[in-house]
Every structure is written in C-alpha cells, then in structure tokens.
Amino acid sequence: MTPHQIIFFIIIPMAGGICTILAHRQRKLQRFLGIGFLLANIVTAAAGLCAVAPTGSILVSQMGNWPAPFGISLVLDTLSALMLMMSSIVCLAVFLYCVFQFDDDQQGGFFHPLFHLLILGVQWSFLTGDFFNLFVAFEIMLMASYAMFCVGTTTLQMKHAYKYVLLNLVGSILFVTCAGLLYGQLGTLNMADITRIAMSGQLPDSSVPVIAMLVLVFGGKTAIFPLWFWLPDTYHTLPGAIGGLFAGLLTKVGAYVMIRVFVMIFGSAESITSIVSPLLLGSAAVTMFLGVLGAVSMHSVRRILSIHIISQVGYMLMGIGLAIAAGIAFDSRVMAVAGAIFFIMHNMVVKCCLFLCGGLMHEHAGSDNLQAIGGLLKRAPWLAVLFMIAAMSLAGLPPLSGFFGKWVLLVAGLQSEHYVIVIIAVITSLFTLLSMLKIWSYGFWSPPQGDHVEHPTVRPRTFGGMAGITLLVVMALSMGFGAQHYYQLCETAAKSVVDPTAYVQAVLGEQHTPIKQLSLVETSLEP
C-alpha cells in the first residue's frame, strides 16, 4: 500500500453510501452492493495492516499535497490499522445479520446508506491527523447514528433517542469549542504539530483547562463515570444488530481517540498528565465497578449487555490512565497502552457478538426478558455454544481473548504499583462472569418459564445471524489462541504512541518551519 492509497478507507464507504442511496428502491441490489463494499473494506484494511504493522512504519497522505501543518493529514500507523481491521470485520458481521434477519421494513428508510456513512465516520476518525477534521468525522458518524436510532422508530425508541442526540450534540459543541481555543493558543490543529509542541515543553499553562475539558468531551462519548448515564438508557431500545454495531464501534472510537490525545499528543506534558491521569484512573475504577453492578441487577439481555459496555470501558480507561501516570517506566507504559489496545480490539468483537446473540435469542424466544424465556439450549444449541464462547471470553476466562487483555492490564497495574485499581478490576471480572452466567442459566439452561410470552412456533430463519456471530466468534478465538501475535502488533502500536517521535517526523517531515516564521515566499501557491 502506498501512502496515497490511505484515501481508499474513506472512498470505499463513501461510494457505498452514495451507491446505496441511488439504489434505494432496489433492495436486493443494495444488499449485494453492501456486501461488496464491506469486503473491499476488509481487503483494504488487511493491506493497510500488512503495510505498516511488521515494521511499525507510518504512512502519511497529505490531502491536496498541502504541506503538513496547513493541510489535512491522513495518518495510518499501526494503531489505526489495527482499529480499522477490527472495525471492518465487525461491520461485515453486523451487516450479514441485518441483511438476513431484518425484514424489509427495518431495512427500508435509507438504512443501507446510513450504515455505510457510519462506517465512513468511524474509519475517518481512526485515520485523521487533525483535530478539527476529527470533529467533522465524529459528526458524520454521529449524524448517521442519530438517524439509525430513528429507523423504524417506536415511540419508546424516539423518547430515548433524545437523550442520545442531545448529549452527543452538547459533547460535539464542547469539542469544537476546545478545538477553536486550542488553535487560538497553539496556532495549529495538526496532531503531530501539537505533539511536537507538547514534547518540546512549550505548551502554555492556559491550555491545561482546555485539555481538561477534552476529558469531558471524550469521556461523554466513551461513556465513563460520571458521564455514562445516557448509554444504558438508550442502547437497549435498539434492535440487537444495531445495538451491536454501536456497542462495537462508537464507544471504542471514543477510547481510541483518548489514547491518541492523552497518551500520544499530551502524554509528554507533565502539567497535563498530572491532572488527567488521576481523573482517568479514578473514573476507571468507578466506571468498571458500577457498570458491572448495574449489569448484574438487570433482567433483560439487551439491558445487561448495554450497561456492560460501560464496565468494559473502565478497563480501557485503566490502561490509558496507567500509561500517563506519574513516575512510571517506559516499558510499563508501553505495556499499559498495549493492554488497552488489545482490550479495545477484543471488546469490539466480543461485545458486538454478544449483542447479535441477544438479537437471535429474541428471535427464538419472542422476548429478551430473562424472566420470561428459557430452554434455548434445546431450541438453538449452536447459538448456545457460540454465546458461551463469547460470554466466557468477555468474562476473561483463559484461554479466551478477554483473559489476555485483562492480564496485561493487571500486570501493568502491579508494575506501576496501582494496587487499588488492580483489585477492583479483578472483582469486576468476577461479577462479569456472574452476569454472563445469569443470561446463560435463565436464557439457555433453565426450562422455558412464564406463559405470558408467546413462543414462536415456527423456527425463525437465522442463517445470516449465525454467519455473523460465527465470524466474530472465530475472530475472538483467534485472538485468544493467537494472543501472542496480536499482542506483538499491539506492542508495536503502543510503542509508536508512547514515543511519538516517529509519528511527528512522518507527518511533519524532516525540516519543519514553525508557522510564525513563515514568509510569503515559502507558501508558493503551486503545490
């Protein structure tokens, strides 16, 4: 892959969106196009990963060939490539589920274009090397998600959509304010350029409150304590597959951006890490523990899973917080970030998989209230097996993927002597197991109960759903049994994030002119 081919990550979903808009009357064509574009997406992601991961090199494409701090840079480093790989697989699995399980009503109303545009926003946020561009990418992603929230709306879904839309809007507006203020103080919005300023210790004190406000912005999007209240109240109203897509992508984009911003860009600025790190670590502990308590107390599959997202976000935050904690050795920092990246990847796959399982449970039993369903082990044995693998993986039983993610984070925590959060993480893990066993024993194991729910007599068609779930479970298993290889990739990614010298050089080039000394002669208008 040459640097300029990075743009394919944006062109492919954009073309997907446009083509499916044009074909919005031909349902069949839309589905074929969708699968085609998503496969192309996976191929591109694989090519990108192969190009950067083995050596940890960084591909940079300057849009319109404008030199770095002025134009928009798209940057593909190992971290972005890993995220793109995982997200494209998750998208394909969800798409398979949607195409085969949703009826025409649910797939109508421009569902397909929205799906592709959501992917566009997600991939763009993984690639961009510019703060304001990140805001634009976020907005594309969020606009698509707002509209998807209202596809086939029930009144209930709409009522809850307000919380999601308004909260995210306020977050976006704060984000754009922060971006503007940062530009006013630093004179640049290019991430590499800001990193350079932070590394050289020239960050003015006045930008500390602005960056602290960024914790609020990304924290709201990632759903950390105390900003998580919108999430458990909205995600459960969505159909299983769309819930899976949101759970697999949206909060993870927030976590990714947090790694980029707080570890890579501002990780070297003492004045910022000394404030942000305790904030994140404290929030991580409360987030993971309260989230899992909420999950244990719920009685519907989708509710358990959606409140569980929050608990898992806590682990990612723990990694980020440890990585910028004061007085921690370089190796432990790399380990903490690598753990967080591994955990994000694992969580994208597994969480989405569980949501899809929840959707199929609903199809089989006619409800997803655990007090009303049961006996699914007999009705859908394969679903039960796949659910069990995904659930145990989420709970973190060895040798499945969740175990290794948590293991690395715990070791990083012990090395840096943050014992409290390590203990909380272990306890949370036990409760996670409990909540998963709750779904298992009520939904699959126990005999059917409650006569107030009509069990469908016809066996539902579940081919597409099972295909999507199987794809994700295979991914999860490969992450568990091939954890060493995945972890090496994560370590490469983490190294370039913790020590961003290479990133800065790749984006800004060797000889970099600070903006203020630039004279008119040097900005010749012919690129």
Partner: protein, 115 residues
C-alpha cells in the same frame, strides 16, 4: 473586541444552559442551538482581534502579520454547516414526537408507557 466577544460567549452559554435545564423539549433544543452559536463565537474570539488588519487575500510584499487569520473563519463555516444539518434533524424529530404523542413536555413524555 475580545472582551465583547468573551462576554457574548458567556451570555450565550449561560442562556443555553438555562434553556437546557427546562422541562420543555422545544426549549432544550433551542438551548443546544444557542450553544452552537456560542461555540462559533468562541472560535472567532480565539483567532484574535481583527481590528486594523487586512482581509486575508495575499499580495506580494505585505507582511503576513498584517492579515487576519482565515482559518478560524473556515472552521466556523464548517461548524455552521454541520450545526445546520443537526438542527434540521432535531427539529424533524420534534415534529414527529409531537405528532405521535401530542406533547413536548418532558414530564409527560416520561410517563408514556413503554411498549
């Protein structure tokens, strides 16, 4: 100039927070719109005072420091366009909610039965 913009940003943010704390959905949405305008103004303020500066149309032989910075204006323009789309979406949602439930009062909406 900067002082004036700062005060205006403060007023806009304050008013929008006040609106958003209300129990009427229309008010809440208006609050979000106002917040967007406040943010745009804040970016404009961050770009420094434009008094005594030239419009950013480059000519040879003129010191760059004499031009206003065009970038914040470009940022604001983008933010306005995005904000416009979001406002349209939010207003549509309001209309649909009204048609479905005949109320925009959050207390009454919260009582809507879950079905």
């Amino acid at each position: 100039m900067n002082l004036l913009i700062s005060i205006m940003v403060g007023v806009l943010f304050g008013a929008s927070v006040f609106l958003m704390l209300g129990r009427e959905l229309k008010g809440v949405c208006m609050g979000v719109f106002l917040l967007g305008h406040g943010a745009n103004l804040a970016i404009l303020g961050a770009s420094g005072s434009p008094i005594g500066k030239l419009a950013p149309v480059l000519e040879h032989g003129v010191d760059l420091a004499r031009y206003t910075d065009p970038l914040p204006q470009a940022l604001i323009l983008t933010a306005i366009v995005i904000g416009f789309a979001v406002q349209a979406f939010l207003l549509t949602l309001l209309v649909i909610t009204w048609r479905r439930t005949q109320t925009l009062d959050l207390n009454k909406l919260a009582l809507e039965t879950e079905h």
